[in-house]
């Protein structure tokens, strides 16, 4: 393995253990939904930094534009109108990769090195190793990765691993004019979230809380929600996300079985060859067959 600008802890479809000596700071992005005004500066900054431009979309009657994530839109704002206690609430959530500590995409990926997890918590796609099978989409509990039409490869937010590697905040976080996006060590972000949650509780949001779902081992993109008891209000944020049991079955239980079966076939063939030998056809039979063919 070459020298890395960030230490790798996990690679898709790889059993070689990763270097584990260096202790790097675990980073996190905190999205304070209560401070977001939905201006979409983060969306623009994301495309600008990553040198991608999505096609200009159409207005669909609500503020969501683009309507969904795509291979060229790695983050989108989702606007939910929710009636709560007789009051209309406009819940705006920045959607994008959550950078799970236990990433379903990485577990499901069959291509070595196409998905990697860095020691600081960032989960990154390496498109040159991607075979475009789309298993990462099946594996993701948040439905984030998208396959590009142009090259058939999967793309998603990188948490600006290139910026973080040189000690800078992700492009979206830097641009955010209201400070709804914060970036730092995961611990710091949790402390900051605590302050925000206390403030929200004082303002009457009794159920305010941090979204850092344990079902995926915690995430490196966390939300401060006013209604942390019902995350599904925020355009369907899963209340208790976990990796699909099919992925665990296929990659956990079935994989060694398949390897054993294949090894058994190979061993069986060897034994068959030793005991029975190759299938010999007598010269007489061959001549007869040739005669039949020529007629």
């Amino acid at each position: 393995m070459a020298l890395q600008s960030l230490d790798i802890t996990r690679r898709s479809a790889t059993t070689t253990p990763a270097p584990a000596l260096r202790q790097t700071t675990e980073v996190a992005k905190l999205i304070d939904v209560s401070a977001c005004i939905g201006c979409k500066a983060c969306q623009v900054a994301c495309m600008e930094w990553n040198d991608i431009r999505d096609e200009v979309g159409n207005c669909v009657g609500v503020y969501d534009n683009p309507v969904d994530l795509s291979a060229k839109s790695w983050t989108v704002m989702r606007f939910a109108e929710v009636e709560e206690g007789g009051r209309l609430q406009w819940l705006i959530r920045k959607d994008g990769c959550m950078h799970c500590a236990d990433p379903g995409c990485l577990k499901a990926c069959p291509s070595p090195g196409a998905i990697i997890q860095y020691a600081n918590g960032i989960v990154d796609f390496q498109q040159e190793n991607c075979i475009g099978c789309g298993y990462c989409i099946t594996g993701c509990p948040f439905n984030i990765p998208r396959i590009a039409k142009e090259d058939g490869k999967a793309y998603k937010c990188t948490l600006c691993s290139d910026r973080v590697a040189v000690g800078q905040a992700p492009a979206c976080v830097k641009s955010c004019p209201t400070g709804a996006l914060q970036f730092g060590s995961k611990e710091q972000m949790k402390d900051y979230a605590d302050k925000r949650i206390k403030d929200l509780k004082m303002r009457g949001f009794e159920k305010a809380g941090l979204y850092d779902p344990p079902g995926v081992g915690g995430t490196h993109v966390m939300y401060v929600l006013h209604h942390a008891d019902r995350p599904e209000l925020y355009s369907g944020l899963p209340p208790d996300p976990s990796i699909s049991p099919l992925v665990s079955l296929w990659k956990g239980f079935a994989k060694p079985l398949a390897t054993v079966a294949m090894a058994a076939v190979a061993l069986g063939s060897l034994f068959h060859y030793v005991i029975k030998g190759p299938n010999e056809v007598s010269k007489k039979l061959e001549d007869e067959l040739e005669k039949e063919e020529s007629t």
Binding site: G113, T158, T259, A266
Partner: protein, 195 residues
């Protein structure tokens, strides 16, 4: 392609064996994983100001190359200036997309004039433009400058002329704008701060 039965079995067995070996971990050397290189590492950083609204956020403009004689500079990235007290590194969606304004094919890059009666915009040099503006200003000021009002009080007004300054200008530039225009008698000058 013609395959005999025996050849077909051989191809199948080779394929199956190869993929099995790969699955069991005997695959070719793993491809290297590396984060995308930081694209601004040796870019030239220039401070400037967002031209859009009156907030006048500070921006950092990153240009390809190190200003060497033979390297032609080109803007590759623009982001907020953390040292600017106005925005402290942040930007709005329009500011965050400044690069596309710089690169826009519709951006005006040089002075143009549409002569009276003409439907065409004609490209002119900066010298021509400044001279042209000065001549128009002089003609208009000579024609409509008010030195004294009806009561005979000196007012030195030039009411037929307006000037659009910039809210992004520094204190010093603003002072100069003020001095020059007031000296000419111009009353109506404005910036995009109220547009």
């Amino acid at each position: 392609m013609q395959l005999t039965r025996r050849q077909f079995f051989k191809v199948c067995a080779a394929g199956m064996g190869g993929s099995s070996i790969a699955l069991m971990g005997f695959s070719p050397a793993p491809a290297l994983a590396e984060v995308r290189a930081f694209k601004l590492a040796r870019a030239t950083e220039t401070r400037n100001m967002c031209p859009y609204c009156s907030v006048s956020c500070g921006v950092l403009i990153y240009t390809v190359g190190d200003k060497a004689k033979n390297a032609k500079p080109d803007i590759i990235h623009i982001e907020g200036d953390p040292d600017n007290p106005v925005n402290r590194g942040t930007l709005c969606p329009k500011g965050a997309g400044l690069l596309d304004m710089v690169k826009s094919p519709n951006r005006l890059k040089y002075p143009q004039v549409r002569e009276p009666g003409s439907a065409e915009w004609k490209r002119i040099s900066w010298e021509e433009a400044i001279e042209r503006i000065a001549k128009h200003m002089k003609a208009d000021r000579d024609a409509s400058f008010i030195e004294k009002n009806e009561k005979g009080i000196t007012v030195n007004r030039w009411n037929t002329f307006g000037f659009l300054a910039s809210s992004a200008a520094s204190n010093e530039t603003g002072y100069l704008t003020h001095k020059v225009l007031r000296a000419l008698g111009c009353v109506a000058f404005e910036t995009q701060a109220r547009i």
